[in-house]
């Protein structure tokens, strides 16, 4: 019998030693009995972050036979531009299709010279004339013409085609006709300022291929023909698709008849790796060149090893996305329709601790809805800071008083004693939300407020949001290229129709959004949206947590990276300008 335990002991020890050998601890402090002050990560002090070499611009015309490997966390759903809905669809679609209108790295609306020769907007904003570049072909050789653009417009407005998100924008254009084979004319009412921007939402699809079975399948989705077309698209962009192996990888090859500026890499392989820990390991083996959207924790703590330093650099760029805690102030709970309570909450959160321990200082303080780099940012906003005394005072003022008996806060409402006890909703899979909630819970306990957390998987989380069945929730919003995108979130009537899930209602804000949509002068629009930002920050319908940063790891050999408010990939020309600097290597 004794031998059995000896054997067990040996096996356990052996395993422990082995695993220890391959996972050298990356924390950098001593351990003998005394606790050193913890070393807090800050990307500004990290020499691996944003080295100059990764930004070096590609010399014009530089081209090669190399292959680049890029990580996708999730498989794209479809490669048909009409039905694309996720970030991952866009990443691959941007290579296969050349959009006529798009955004550049500053989120400015531009037209692509690979597709368009000139663009003309009439004085009264009612007519837009687009001249296409000649010689551009689809991957099967057919020329791209104005008829493709007209067809695309018709298809987007066709009610039978189940388009998820951009139909309303395209409706801004009342007609679209082909004046000749290479000229298109759009008309609109002329009243809505965001009309021009909506042009980028109309995808171009090949008419000669998509009209083939339109009689039989007017939704352009059903049937073998359209399914194949969505998996093996024929585009007009610099890359054509070679193969798409389910849940494994997508391989693209450079289209040598591309009329515009050809990209550097001959082949692009998107590897689909869902588990981020494994993805990082694959990167360290040298089998991935670019890995976007790495977790903050991985960025801060898991990229300091020898094996990482041998292959990679880190890239950290500002992103126009913010994390927030949203309050439900529609009256279904007795807490958050009182502005003093919301202020008390904001003062209660120890935001510096959150930045140090949860965000690893990857991100910046958030001043409300718009990003400091944007043209509509109001820089007269004073941040609300962590101040427990202020919280206590505000809660007392709002009549949430500490009970002698058990130390929690209660308020008399309609003759009943109601305890300040609320639940915060967390979406599953969030890397940071549970920890923020835990930190918040600790401080609120000191104030006599009880916070409980509840995690829901995604579909349930969304349903609860839309049905307003929550008290508080943690999630994030991305700002689009135009601030009019906030219409859906902040206007009063959007409580029933849109994304105003917390029941925020402010008549002045409603008015301002309406004005902003119809004002054409950029200067005047800026003033309008700046005022919106100030009012919103003053009302604190959200506890704004941070402005995110885009985190990526990049193989040392890659250059040509640039940042945009949407990350390193989904703007123009982003991926196409990546190259390998063979000169200084």
């Amino acid at each position: 019998m004794k031998n059995v335990y000896k054997i067990l002991l040996v096996i356990t020890l052996a395993t422990v030693l082995f695993v220890n050998g391959c996972t050298k601890s990356e924390s950098d402090k001593g351990v003998d009995g005394n606790i050193d002050t913890p070393v807090v990560y800050n990307p500004d002090n990290d020499p691996l972050v944003n080295p100059d070499s990764i930004f070096k611009k590609r010399p014009k015309g530089a081209i090669s036979e190399e292959t680049i490997f890029i990580n996708l966390k999730s498989s794209p759903n479809t490669l048909c531009p009409l039905f694309s809905s996720t970030h991952y669809d866009s990443i691959v679609l941007d290579q296969i299709f050349e959009s006529a209108f798009t955004i550049d790295k500053k989120m400015t609306w531009i037209y692509s010279e690979n597709a368009i020769v000139s663009f003309n907007e009439s004085e009264d904003h009612t007519a837009y004339i687009v001249k296409l570049r000649k010689g551009v072909t689809w991957h099967d050789g057919t020329p791209v013409t104005a008829h493709d653009m007209v067809f695309s417009y018709d298809v987007v407005l066709d009610e039978r085609v189940p388009i998820v998100s951009f139909r309303d924008e395209v409706k801004n254009f009342t007609t679209c006709v082909a004046i000749d084979d290479y000229t298109v004319k759009y008309t609109s009412s002329g009243k809505i300022a965001t009309t021009k921007v909506s042009l980028q939402s109309i995808p171009i699809i090949p008419k000669h291929l998509y009209e083939k079975e339109r009689e039989a399948f007017p939704d352009l989705k059903t049937g073998t023909y359209y399914n194949t077309l969505a998996r093996h698209p024929v585009g007009n962009g610099p890359y054509k698709i070679v193969e798409w192996i389910e849940n494994d990888k997508i391989v693209l090859e450079r289209y040598e008849n591309f009329v515009g500026e050809k990209p550097y890499f001959k082949r692009v392989v998107y590897k689909i790796i869902q588990d981020l820990t494994v993805a990082l390991l694959t990167f360290e083996k040298g089998e991935l060149d670019v890995f976007e959207a790495i977790k903050p924790k991985q960025f801060a703590k898991e990229t300091n090893s020898e094996s990482f330093k041998n292959v990679g650099y880190k890239a950290c760029g500002k992103e126009w996305t913010y994390d927030y805690i949203g309050w439900n102030q529609d009256g279904s709970n007795p807490f958050f329709n009182d502005k003093r309570v919301r202020y008390a909450m904001t003062h209660a959160l120890n935001i510096d601790l959150v930045f140090d321990q949860v965000y690893y200082n990857l991100g910046t303080r958030c001043y409300g809805t718009y990003h400091p780099d944007s043209w509509m940012f109001n820089n007269n906003i004073k941040l609300l800071e962590h101040d427990l005394e202020k919280s206590k005072k505000l809660l007392d003022e709002a009549l949430w008083l500490i009970d002698e008996n058990d130390g929690w806060r209660y308020k008399m409402i309609d003759g009943h004693k109601v305890k300040f006890d609320f639940e915060i909703m967390i979406p599953q899979g969030s890397a940071t939300a549970p920890q923020i909630a835990a930190i918040f819970q600790k401080t609120l306990k000191k104030l006599g407020v009880e916070l409980k957390t509840r995690t829901f998987e995604w579909a349930t989380f969304i349903e609860k949001m839309l049905k307003h069945e929550y008290m508080a929730q943690i999630s994030a919003w991305g700002t689009g290229s135009d601030p009019d995108g906030g219409w859906n979130i902040w206007r009063t009537e959007q409580y029933k129709e849109g994304r105003n899930t917390g029941g925020y209602a402010n008549a002045r804000v409603d008015e301002l959004f309406f004005q902003g949509r119809h004002e054409f002068s950029k200067l005047k629009r800026a003033e309008i949206y700046k005022e919106i930002q100030k009012i919103l920050y003053d009302d604190q319908p959200y506890l704004w947590l941070r402005n995110r940063v885009n985190l990526s790891v990049v193989n040392k050999r890659i250059s040509g990276i640039s940042f945009s408010p949407r990350g390193i990939m989904t703007f123009y020309p982003s991926q196409r300008n990546w190259w390998i600097d063979t000169i200084s290597h």
Partner: protein, 347 residues
């Protein structure tokens, strides 16, 4: 004369079983471990808590950690309350108590929710197993997670065994229509989308691990039922059964007093592996995010957190790993020994 007769009276079936069980050293060790787990889960607050076991405050004696034994861990509604200063949420015993006053602290002076300033520290004299990203003591979290490990196996397999043995026995013994119906029910339950049920439970009801285990118990009885049915099928043709029937014993009595002890042996393997498997299932559910919800600790969700921190804080993954390993081994050893003890023909 009468004394020698007394000594020859044979022991009952179950006292024979326990006699043989305790002779099996491995089984006893497993049982000791299981008992230790049960004790730790009941008295967890005496081992790890942020308030003392007994202390003197303003002249009077208080027993806050003892009261905690009778309270549920992650809620603040209690049927029995601590005394005044200790029950206030703003009261922090480590700071607010006079250090020179008399106090006996638990072995680990932290609770599982206590966030200190010692973030992500490897094991040290102050934190024996280290701390996690929010400064919570891992040893405290492991101690309080033990109750989940204890409840998980017994609840789900308890329910599953009762249902499975009963239905399986009925099906095997009676045959005919009863067998047909019960077998079909078994087939339907096998094909249940269990995960979906768990998802729904987590949303509609209180997301406690107990509810999840009840769901698991209600869906995992099928294999026990099929084994039992197989054994009853095999045994019902035997002589002792026919004899009992000839004697006019009721069917229930025959089934559960005569056949069942003989059928138990293979079923026991299934049950004990089932208890051990329940711990593994909890850790799999926690891995996917559906087990015990944060911030409450369970060995399963501590394991997942450890995996996510594997590259920068590997010390976090060992405690839950080792604990799960030992608990599963212990249950298996107990089951093995129990089964060896039940089957009289094995000696």
């Amino acid at each position: 004369m009468s004394e020698s007769i007394k000594q020859e009276l044979s022991r009952s079936f179950w006292s024979n079983v326990s006699h043989r069980f305790f002779k099996n050293r491995r089984g006893v060790i497993g049982l000791l471990f299981v008992m230790a787990m049960i004790l730790v889960s009941i008295f967890s607050s005496l081992i790890a808590s942020d308030q003392p076991i007994v202390c003197k405050y303003e002249g009077k004696l208080y027993f806050p950690a003892v009261v905690e034994i009778f309270q549920l861990r992650n809620t603040n509604k209690h049927w029995i309350n601590k005394s005044k200063p200790f029950r206030y949420p703003s009261f922090e015993a480590r700071e607010d108590l006079d250090p020179s006053a008399f106090a006996i602290w638990p072995l680990i002076p932290y609770s599982e929710y206590d966030q200190t300033n010692h973030f992500s520290q490897p094991p040290s004299k102050i934190h024996w197993l280290g701390t996690d990203g929010l400064g919570r003591d891992i040893a405290a979290r492991m101690i309080h997670g033990t109750s989940v490990a204890v409840q998980v196996g017994f609840i789900s397999m308890g329910i599953a065994s009762i249902i499975g043995i009963f239905l399986g026995g009925l099906a095997g013994y009676y045959g005919g229509w009863i067998d047909i119906i019960i077998s079909r029910v078994i087939e339907v339950v096998i094909c249940f989308p269990v995960f979906f049920l768990i998802l729904s439970i987590l949303v509609w009801l209180d997301p406690s691990i107990i509810n999840v285990m009840i769901v698991l118990g209600l869906t995992r009885w099928t294999s026990i039922a099929r084994y039992t049915r197989g054994e009853f099928l095999r045994l019902k043709g035997q002589d002792f059964v026919m004899a009992a029937q000839a004697m006019g014993l009721s069917n229930m009595r025959i089934m559960f007093k005569h056949i069942l002890p003989n059928a138990l042996a293979p079923v026991m393997v299934s049950i004990t592996f089932g208890i051990a498997a329940a711990i593994l299932i909890e850790s799999a559910l926690s891995w996917l995010g559906f087990g015990v919800q944060a911030p409450s600790p369970s060995w399963g969700n501590l394991l997942r957190t450890g995996y996510d921190s594997l590259r920068d804080a590997p010390y976090m993954v060992y405690p839950p790993c080792v604990a799960i390993f030992m608990a599963v081994m212990a249950y298996n050893l107990v089951g093995d020994a129990l089964r060896d003890a039940i089957d009289p023909r094995l000696n």
